[in-house]
Amino acid sequence: MFTVFGIPAAALFGQLLLGLINGAFYAMLSLGLALIFGLLNIINFSHGALYMMGAFVAWLLLTYVGAGYWVALVVAPVIVAALGIVIERTMLSRLYKLDHLYGLLLTFGLALIIEGLFRQLYGVSGMPYSVPKELAGGWNLGFMFLPIYRGWVVIASLVLCLGTWAVIEKTKLGAYLRAATENPTLVQAFGINVPVMITATYGFGVALAAIAGVLAAPVYSVNPMMGSNLIIVVFAVVVIGGMGSIMGSVVTGFLLGLLEGLTKVFYPEAAATVIFMVMVVVLLLKPAGLFGKGA
């Protein structure tokens, strides 16, 4: 066993892996936020609550229906996306002509309702959710012990993020989406149904949050407050990265997760605040964000 700067390598790489996993969640959530913001001009404050709901639906499916992890990975995002579509159609769609701040306030209210309901029903203590048996155990890599599930989370989220990026940058659908982000009126005039595209984007964005929630369920315990603290960090990630580029938010998410993991090893007191500190520095040096375009 060797050490790095006096830290046992296993501990260092363990924390880095955990950082990478956190980064995966930051990336998936900020990607969804950026997609939604691009088309709806709304910052979805309920993103954290919907992530929590994803985890909870997985737990509920297992507890009451007996449906396992793989079913949950498909069903939970569908359920959450359906809720998202209802939210978009019945509420958010009334706000597009107003100041963007109203969207933030509305989704903040929704987050309070969702979190309050789950806390009322299931209390604040966490519910354990075990790792699926296919992904249980781990590999000894020599320099560290790699739990298979954690590796799976990083790979799954990478695939999802890159897939989303590819769809948006390389396909015709993505081209419509980018065009509608630039100028929805013109795209509508070309005969593309923009309102449907907006609804679908919102649904997809929150489905990403729900998948992140299901992936998170075996890593952290499932509890009603798991989303609210996360979403504030993700906001900082979004400010740091800027919402102008899909790849930008993914890269920023992973990097900041790693940085947080490193901080946990070398200066644990600052682990909770390091991302906010980075945000301050970025605001001082490059106010528009690392990948941002304008304010």
Binding site: M91, L110, L112, G116, A236, A272, M277, V280
Partner: protein, 326 residues
């Protein structure tokens, strides 16, 4: 000075208006003086502290168009400093409050300076993130006593004379602080400075092109708002003799937004109405789990979808016909 006076008269309401307005304000004041004889004073003081907090927040959202989602950092940290100063350093209440407000003014300068680099939705996210940073610092700093908070804060003697342990004395002190702060805000909003703030809110590029140093105005408004939010927190820590993590949590930041939205953004009395309503809801439902949170969420949704001008905003046209600016 002369130039200022001219602008002031120009901005003032028609000659007949002030008398009605004065009567209305006096009636409200009389209500405030008489209230503790009919209603539990601690409840009233809580309401007044949050009303001041919301009024300070409203200066930014209502008159500059800036949504700060992190005002709890000023409220909570001033509460900590005042509580610490009164308990550990043995300062008199007025000095302890002054220390709390001074901290918020300094914090407001730094946070404001950082946050006004971005606009709109980013401004809200930055203030929220910075408030979360200050929340974690409060969790880690030893003097805040973590989950316990600073308990048993002595109210002491105001100016060494007035014993604030007496419930009625404390109430009238809180009322006096509230009234003075609200008058200050009213003065600011109706001053040439306030006119510029409204111009920035309505059309920032235009204000810039007219030669106003928009950033400076925004920063000054932010510092003022932060200081008054701090004042509210300081006074609150003396009323409840407690400063705790709940005051710095993002939940408190959300509550002050709700109070202002419910009462009426950009109105003089709206935040007060909203604050008393929200505090009443808290008192009624505090025993039944998470219902307070759920109800607050529902009110948020209703306000945004159907009731954007708030209670006072709805009443304002009716009051205006009777010569009262609400």
């Amino acid at each position: 000075m002369a130039k200022h006076d001219v602008t002031l008269t120009a901005a003032a309401p028609p000659a007949k208006a002030p008398s009605r307005q004065t009567l209305f304000v006096l009636a409200l004041l009389a209500l405030g003086v008489a209230a503790p004889f009919g209603i539990y004073p601690v409840f009233l003081m809580k309401g007044l502290c949050f009303a001041l907090f919301a009024a300070a927040f409203n200066l930014l959202l209502g008159y500059v168009g800036l949504l700060s989602f992190g005002h709890a950092m000023f409220f909570g940290w001033s509460a900590y400093v005042t509580a610490h100063a009164a308990k550990e350093w043995g300062l008199t209440p007025e000095l302890a409050i002054l220390a709390g407000v001074a901290l918020s003014a300094v914090m407001g300068t730094v946070v404001g300076w950082l946050a006004i680099r971005r606009q709109g939705i980013y401004f809200a996210m930055i203030t929220l993130a910075l408030a979360q940073l200050m929340f974690f610092l409060a969790v880690q700093a030893p003097f805040t006593h973590g989950e316990d908070g600073i308990q048993g804060v002595p109210r002491g003697h105001l100016f060494g004379v007035l014993n604030l342990s007496d419930m009625m004395t404390m109430y009238y002190f809180v009322l006096a602080v509230f009234v003075v702060a609200l008058l200050l805000l009213y003065r600011v909003v109706n001053s040439p400075f306030g006119q510029v703030l409204k111009a920035i809110r309505d059309n920032e590029p235009r204000a810039i092109s007219l030669g106003y140093q928009v950033e400076r105005y925004k920063l000054l408004a932010f510092v003022l708002s932060a200081s008054l939010a701090g004042l509210a927190g300081s006074v609150k820590s003396l009323v409840f003799q407690l400063a705790s993590l709940a005051d710095v949590h993002w939940h408190a930041s959300g509550e002050v937004v709700l109070m202002t939205l419910l009462g009426g953004v950009g109105t003089v009395f709206g935040p007060t109405v909203g604050a008393f309503l929200v505090v009443t809801i808290q008192n009624y439902f505090s025993e039944v789990g998470s219902w307070v949170t759920i109800i607050q969420g529902v009110i948020f949704v209703i306000c945004v979808l159907a009731f954007r001008s708030g209670i006072v905003g709805v009443l304002a046209p009716w009051l205006k016909k009777r010569g009262i600016q609400a």
